[in-house]
C-alpha cells in the first residue's frame, strides 16, 4: 500500500549560501518588448545584482499583444538584493507580471523505519511543522504486513541550513522517543 501526503505543491527548491546572505530561489514572469536587444536589456540588471540565472523560458502566448513577449526567468539571488533588482528592472521598463519567492529553501529527505503509524505519525509531522522554520513537505509511507515495521521517506523543508539541522535534531529526538530508526543522507541538505 502506498500513501502520499503532500503539504504543498512547490517544485524542488534549491539553495546556496552565497557569502553572508541567504540566497533565494525566485521565479519571475516578465513582459518585454518583442524587439532586438530587449531580452539582454532585461537580463543585465540580474547579473548586476549578483543574481544567478537558472532558466530563461520564452513564452509566446496568443493573448499577449504582438509587440510584447512573455519571458519566465528562474534565478537565485541574495535575499537582501531582490528588492533592488525588482526596482532596477522596472526602471528598465520591464513589466513584472508575476514574482514568486520560495521561503523554505533547504530540503532534505530521510528514511524512517518502525511502527510509524502506531506511534502517531500525525504528531511526528506536527512536531516539525510547529517549529515555524521547518515543515514536512512530503511523506511516502510503505506499509507491509500489520505487525511489521513500516518505512517512510519524509521530506523536510526549512528556511536555512542551521534551521534544517535543528529540525533534524528534533526529528531524531522524536524518533528516539518513539523507538523509530532514522536513516539520514550522508551529505548535507539541498542535494
Amino acid at each position: 500500500m502506498r500513501k502520499w501526503v503532500n503539504n504543498e505543491g512547490l517544485s524542488s527548491a534549491w539553495i546556496k549560501v552565497m557569502g553572508e546572505g541567504i540566497s533565494v530561489h525566485v521565479s519571475m514572469k516578465l513582459e518585454i518588448k518583442d524587439s532586438p536587444g530587449q531580452l539582454v536589456a532585461a537580463l543585465t540588471p540580474i547579473s548586476e545584482y549578483g543574481g544567478n540565472i537558472i532558466a530563461v523560458i520564452h513564452q509566446r502566448e496568443p493573448e499577449t499583444s504582438s509587440d510584447t513577449l512573455g519571458v519566465q526567468i528562474v534565478l537565485e539571488i541574495d535575499h537582501e538584493r531582490l528588492d533592488g533588482l525588482v526596482a532596477a528592472l522596472r526602471r528598465q521598463g520591464v513589466n513584472i507580471l508575476r514574482l514568486g519567492e520560495e521561503r523554505l529553501l533547504f530540503r532534505q529527505s530521510v528514511i524512517m523505519i518502525g511502527h510509524l503509524i502506531h506511534t502517531d505519525i500525525g504528531d511526528t509531522i506536527d512536531r516539525i511543522d510547529r517549529t515555524g522554520f521547518a515543515e514536512v513537505a512530503e511523506l511516502n509511507v510503505q506499509m507491509p504486513a500489520i505487525t511489521e515495521p513500516s518505512t517512510a521517506l519524509i521530506t523536510i523543508k526549512a528556511t536555512t541550513r542551521s534551521k534544517m539541522d535543528r529540525a533534524l535534531d528534533l526529528l531524531r529526538e522524536v524518533a528516539a522517543e518513539k523507538g523509530l530508526v532514522i536513516v539520514e543522507p550522508l551529505e548535507e541538505a539541498d542535494r
Binding site: 528514511i111 511489521e148 536513516v183 543522507p185
Partner: protein
C-alpha cells in the same frame, strides 16, 4: 629482522605463508605460538614446516610451550600479535603487547581490542621504550589507511574520517539493494558464503565498524575516544522498503562510520548515499575517505578482510619498522 608470531588463526597463517613465499623480505621467524603449543628457535624456523604441522596435528610446535614462554625468551625484534580479538577487555593480547613493549620490542598487531581500548597507553609505552607499535591490520584489511594518515598525508590536519569499515554489512546491503532481498535472506546468504559469523551481532549491529572508527579517530586526533563515545545504529533494522525508497531517488544505503571532532560527531549508522558516491562500493569491500585540510578528500578502497590481505598489512608494518629502526635488515 627476527619476528615472533602469537596466534595461528587465519591471520597468523597468512603471515607465515607470506614469509614462506617471500624469503627475500628478510623476515626471520624465531618464535611462534598457538593456543596449545609453541616453537622457539633463535636460528630461525621454517614457516612452511610450522604450517604443515599446524595442518596435520593442529599444533604448531611443542605442546605446553606458550606465548608467555616466547615473551620470556625474548628472541625476537618484533612481536606479531595476531591472537583472537576480545573487544571488551582486549585480553590476553593487551598483556602480550604491554610485555613486549616494556621489554623493548616492537609490536605489530591485527588485534582491534587492545588498540581500541588502550591506544594512548600503548603508544606512550612504545615512545618511552623507543620502539614502534603498528596496527595497520586492525582497520580496513589490506587498505593502508593508517600508513596514509601517519606518513603519506603528514602535515595535513584531518577534518573528518568517513568510511565503510565492515565488509559483512556492506555485502548484506549490496545484496538487499541489488536483488531486493530481505535483511534475513541477505544475512543467510552471507553466512553461507562465510562472510558472516554464526553470531553476526558484532558485525550487523555496527560494533565492529565502531571499534575500527575509534582506532582511526585516535590515530588521527589522539583524543582518547572510546567505544562508548560512538553513537551506533546497526543494519539489522533495515527493511526492503528502505532500500527501495532510497533507490527511487537514485541512492542506496550503506553502513557509514563517521568521525569529525569539528562537528563533535562520532557515529556508525546506515546512511543514504547517491549511487555515484565514492563510498558506494560493492560486496565485502571496504573504503575510507580522509578529509584533510591540505589534500582535500582522499579515498582508499580495497579488501577489508581475508588471510592474505591482512597479512599484507602486517608485512607492510614489519618492513616499515625494519626501515626505520633496523637499517641492516
Amino acid at each position: 629482522m627476527r619476528i615472533a608470531v602469537l596466534g595461528l588463526g587465519a591471520v597468523g597463517k597468512g603471515v607465515l605463508r607470506v614469509l614462506a613465499e617471500k624469503p627475500e623480505l628478510g623476515l626471520v621467524l624465531t618464535g611462534v605460538a598457538d593456543s596449545a603449543s609453541g616453537w622457539i628457535d633463535p636460528d630461525g624456523i621454517d614457516p612452511g614446516e610450522v604450517l604443515d604441522r599446524k595442518c596435520t596435528t593442529n599444533r604448531c610446535g611443542t605442546a605446553g610451550l606458550t606465548a608467555d614462554d616466547i615473551l620470556d625468551a625474548g628472541e625476537f625484534d618484533v612481536l606479531v600479535e595476531v591472537t583472537p580479538t576480545n573487544a571488551s577487555t582486549g585480553e590476553p593480547a593487551l598483556t602480550y603487547i604491554r610485555r613486549a613493549l616494556i621489554s623493548g620490542h616492537h609490536v605489530v598487531t591485527s588485534n582491534k581490542g587492545p588498540i581500541a581500548i588502550a591506544h594512548a597507553e600503548l603508544e606512550d609505552l612504545a615512545r618511552e621504550q623507543g620502539v614502534a607499535l603498528r596496527y595497520e591490520a586492525t582497520v580496513g584489511g589490506a587498505i593502508p589507511v593508517i600508513h596514509a594518515i601517519r606518513s603519506g598525508l603528514l602535515g595535513n590536519r584531518a577534518h573528518a574520517i568517513t568510511g565503510v569499515l565492515n565488509g559483512t554489512c556492506n555485502y548484506i546491503l549490496t545484496r538487499m539493494d541489488e536483488e531486493g532481498l530481505t535483511y534475513d535472506q541477505a544475512l543467510a546468504e552471507a553466512r553461507e558464503l562465510g562472510y558472516a559469523e554464526a553470531d553476526p551481532t558484532y558485525d550487523v549491529r555496527g560494533i565492529d565498524a565502531a571499534i575500527k572508527l575509534v582506532i582511526l579517530a585516535n590515530t588521527c586526533w589522539n583524543l582518547g575516544v572510546t567505544l562508548n563515545d560512538v553513537s551506533i545504529t546497526g543494519i539489522d533494522c533495515l527493511t526492503v522498503d528502505a532500500l527501495r525508497l532510497a533507490a527511487d531517488q537514485d541512492c542506496t544505503i550503506r553502513l557509514i562510520a563517521e568521525a569529525s571532532p569539528e562537528r563533535g560527531q562520532i557515529r556508525v549508522a546506515p546512511r543514504v548515499l547517491p549511487r555515484t558516491h565514492p563510498l558506494v562500493i560493492e560486496g565485502t569491500l571496504n573504503a575510507v575517505t580522509l578529509s584533510m585540510d591540505l589534500a582535500g578528500e582522499v579515498t582508499l578502497m580495497g579488501r577489508g578482510a581475508g588471510s592474505r590481505e591482512t597479512a599484507s598489512a602486517i608485512v607492510g608494518d614489519l618492513l616499515a619498522i625494519r626501515d626505520r629502526f633496523i637499517e641492516c635488515g
